[in-house]
């Protein structure tokens, strides 16, 4: 899982889900980026700085820390193994797979929308 994370694309996908009234999970930009970084580092420790490398472009440190605590740690998607170090759990990998499916659904929907747009 060493894929690149495209912040702009994730923003686009999150906005799509927000437009469907889904503001959390796949519609939450912070959730998407954090989970992407965690999923990419499966089996390794994810440093908080790894996450901030992407999230600093659109969110402050405090809100990301809060999200880690109130969503990821609370729901058992990650386990804190040291100060500023997290490991994704099996449940977290399930969430990551769901996130990937949500991206695939967005791409499929977008492609089909474009096809329909081009049909006279």
């Amino acid at each position: 899982m060493s894929e690149e994370i495209d912040v702009e694309f994730e923003q686009e996908v999150a906005e799509f889900y927000q437009s469907l009234g889904i503001h959390q999970g796949p519609g939450d930009m912070q959730y998407r980026i954090i989970l992407r970084v965690l999923g990419r580092n499966e089996g390794k420790i994810t440093e908080f700085s790894d996450i901030r490398k992407y999230t600093d472009q659109f969110a402050d440190k405090g809100s990301i820390g809060s999200k880690m605590k109130t969503v990821f740690q609370l729901e058992g998607l990650v386990e804190k193994v040291k100060r500023g170090g997290y490991v994704i759990t099996d449940k977290g990998v399930t969430a990551y797979n769901f996130l990937k499916d949500s991206t695939a659904f967005y791409k499929k929907n977008k492609r089909m929308g474009e096809i329909i747009e081009r049909m006279p």
Binding site: K108, E114, I115, I116, E117, R118, M119, P120
Partner: protein, 267 residues
């Protein structure tokens, strides 16, 4: 000569008229389409015009066969196969453009089918045709070149048909509103109908099959018309009618609305 030939001529004339009318109506509705769908729209206009141009000389051919004029029949056959050979060009452009969305790629791909069309014509004209063989219902020519028939089958028939089926699958596999499904799938089914039966019409050596193929081409043209301009009763039956509504505008007081909803729940 028999009245069967006149029936054949009438069907051909009906195809000519309806496909020209459809092409004209489509061209006239240009302003209703977005810039993105205009290239596909014009490809469709050309496609339906070529169908009309194929069946106009074919109508004269059938009348010539009825009046026992084999030379005119032969001349009209040679004329009809020119637009027929290029029917695949706008069709391939249409499908490629709808799927890929790139005008240039679609144009290059359809140019390949111009080559198929030209080589088909070259082989057909150089080797000639055998006929006409006039029967109760039809006048048939036999293509005297195996290469032409192979080009015809592979280049003009199999590939474009596979493309239509592929696009249809793409649409059927996707969940979408009924209205959109009808609007996208039915024109493709209609085009496929017309296209495949036109090819059957041109290659068959059985007179009844030729007549049947032409009836199906006519059905396909009507189907295409219904796809773009469905009558009200059909819209109601299929559940694709757009409900006419106006937006209800009122200053929204969310707290009040929530209170009202809660009251409703209590009741």
């Amino acid at each position: 000569m028999t009245a069967g030939l006149l029936l054949n001529a009438t069907i051909c004339f009906a195809i000519t008229l309806s496909s020209f009318a459809f092409a004209w109506v489509l061209a006239r509705s240009e302003h209703e389409h977005s810039d993105k769908s205009k290239p596909a729209l014009w490809a469709l206009v050309i496609l339906w015009s070529l169908v009309g141009l194929t069946y106009l000389p074919t109508t004269i051919r059938m009348i010539a066969a009825y009046m026992d004029m084999p030379i005119l029949d032969f001349m009209m056959y040679n004329l009809a196969i020119i637009p027929f050979s290029f029917v695949t060009v706008p069709l391939v452009f249409f499908i490629m453009y709808v799927i890929v969305g790139e005008k240039r790629i679609s144009a290059y791909t359809s140019m390949l089918f111009v080559l198929f069309g030209v080589s088909y014509l070259v082989f057909l004209y150089t080797k000639g045709v055998i006929g006409p063989e006039v029967s109760t219902f039809s006048s048939i020519f036999m293509i005297n070149s195996d290469v032409a028939i192979n080009i015809y089958l592979m280049g003009l028939f199999v590939i474009p048909t596979a493309m239509i089926i592929g696009l249809l699958f793409l649409i059927f596999l996707q969940r979408m509103p009924k209205r959109l499904r009808y609007r996208t799938a039915l024109p493709l089914v209609a085009i496929s109908f017309v296209f495949d039966f036109m090819l059957t019409d041109m290659i068959t050596l059985v007179d009844a099959m030729q007549l049947a193929a032409r009836i199906f081409v006519l059905i396909g043209t009507v189907q295409a018309f219904l796809a773009y301009f469905p009558p009200l009763t059909l819209q109601e039956k299929l559940g694709i009618k757009r409900y006419p509504y106006e937006l209800y505008e009122q200053e929204i007081d969310i707290d009040k609305e929530i209170d009202e909803e809660e009251e409703d729940i209590d009741v």
